[in-house]
Amino acid sequence: MKHLLSTADLSLEDAVLILDTAAEMALLTDREVKKLPTLRGRTVVNLFFEDSTRTRISFEVAAKRLSADVINFAAKGSSISKGESLKDTALTLQAMGADAVVVRHPSSGAPYRLAHADWIDATVINAGDGTHEHPTQALLDAYTLRAHLAGPTGSLRGVRVAIVGDVLHSRVARSNVHLLQTLGAKVTLVAPPTLLPIGVEQWGCAVSYDFDEVLADQDAVMMLRVQGERMNQAFFPSTLEYSRLYGLDTPRMATMGTNSIVLHPGPMNRGMEISADVADDPRSLMVEQVTNGVHVRMAVLYLLLGGMKESAS
């Protein structure tokens, strides 16, 4: 594997290797000296065309713990905001000797393009592209699910996960559907019909418009961020109606199994898809997701960059 562009490209073995490696990374960095020498001399560029402080910092911490040199290349105030093309930015990074480019881009497929257009030979890691995918988010979600529901190296086979909210615009949902199904989990998408993509019935997972109907049967619920602006595009009548039908609040949470957990990729809209009480409940694992994100990204960086350089695919 040279790039990480989509969780659909991961076999069960690949996915388990990443999660197992992340578990080792967690142990190795749970001590005073958190740094490992593994990627000494390697250069990782964080190329962010969209603001995302949490994802960028997570990748930065992961790369630095593996001793890589990290260059942050943000769109704001740089040549990118002055209209430089993705290609020219890529050529610049190539000239700087980037070994890996971690890219966040508003256009679906931009990381794929970066990896395959013959502009650079660096490893490309997709840190979120448009409404397409966000593979490391799905990996950290799977890691968190595994840690709580199956033990550190257990299997997610048969684990029931509901992904709730704006599936249509969510890269987190797409990456999770691929990865969780590869890992054997049973996924149910829950959303109003307007926020489900055409053709979702071909994704291989269950689909429901009724949150209450599916909630009791889930081992985990993954709440997606829903932007209030969607209301103006007539995806739903009002934020109030949305949260009444699809938001997770305390009474609704009470109908979940006692061992069921709640995930959210952040940033949360408290009061919209998730109530403040639920967000602060001990069964809501948002803070742990952030911690796990670093370990998963260390694992990905190590597995893609730690070995010998693979020639361009």
């Binding site: 080792e24 990374m25 490992l36 593994t38 593996l66 597995l303 893609l304 010998m308 693979e310």
Partner: protein
């Protein structure tokens, strides 16, 4: 099964482990501050068996764990990325302890170098010693074992493979001519 010459069989290995255990206890003057850390994969099984032998000799539990060196290797870029193996530092840590690193075969010395680096990030032992089942020579670094099960003169063309009961189903050390 492996082609090649068996240079140690089950009883040879058992004898070597017993002797290594005695030597370790003697040199560390008991098992009080001793921590055995095996280098995965077979170093871990060896260190478990040495620990069991020392417990028999001393009638006292011995601190034992494993130390993966993958992330510290100097040849990472020569092969595709490898899966990590478990690191398990025993409760009580290694601070001010006498750590004995245990590995199956000592050859270039590079694994031991990586293990010393890895150990450095875990803590600061009072002393670090090295125990190996087989020393086949051809060191590339200034590293010397403290406890050796068997010195085995080899050529660099040869392959030395250690098999252990729990890992491989049999105890044996086999030397074969490397097919290039």
């Amino acid at each position: 099964m492996d082609h090649g010459r068996v240079v140690m069989d089950g009883s040879d290995i058992a004898r070597a482990i017993r002797r290594l255990s005695h030597e370790i206890v003697e040199s560390t003057k008991g098992s009080q501050d001793l921590v055995l850390l095996g280098i995965p994969t077979r170093g871990v099984e060896l260190s478990q068996r040495i620990a069991a032998a020392i417990e028999e000799i001393e009638s006292q539990a011995v601190s034992q764990g494993s130390l993966d060196i993958t992330l510290y290797r100097d040849d990472l870029r020569l092969k595709p990325a490898r899966a990590l193996l478990p690191t398990a530092i025993p409760v009580g840590g290694i601070e001010d302890k006498i750590v004995v690193l245990v590995d199956d075969v000592l050859y270039s010395g590079r694994s031991v170098r990586a293990a010393l680096d890895a150990l450095n990030d875990v803590g600061r032992p009072r002393a670090v010693r090295l125990a190996v089942l087989v020393d086949r020579g051809h060191r590339q670094l200034p590293i010397r074992p403290d406890f050796v099960g068997k010195n085995l003169p080899t050529s660099t063309q040869q392959l030395v493979r250690v098999h252990l009961r729990d890992t491989d189903g049999i105890d044996s050390v086999v030397v074969s001519e490397e097919v290039r």
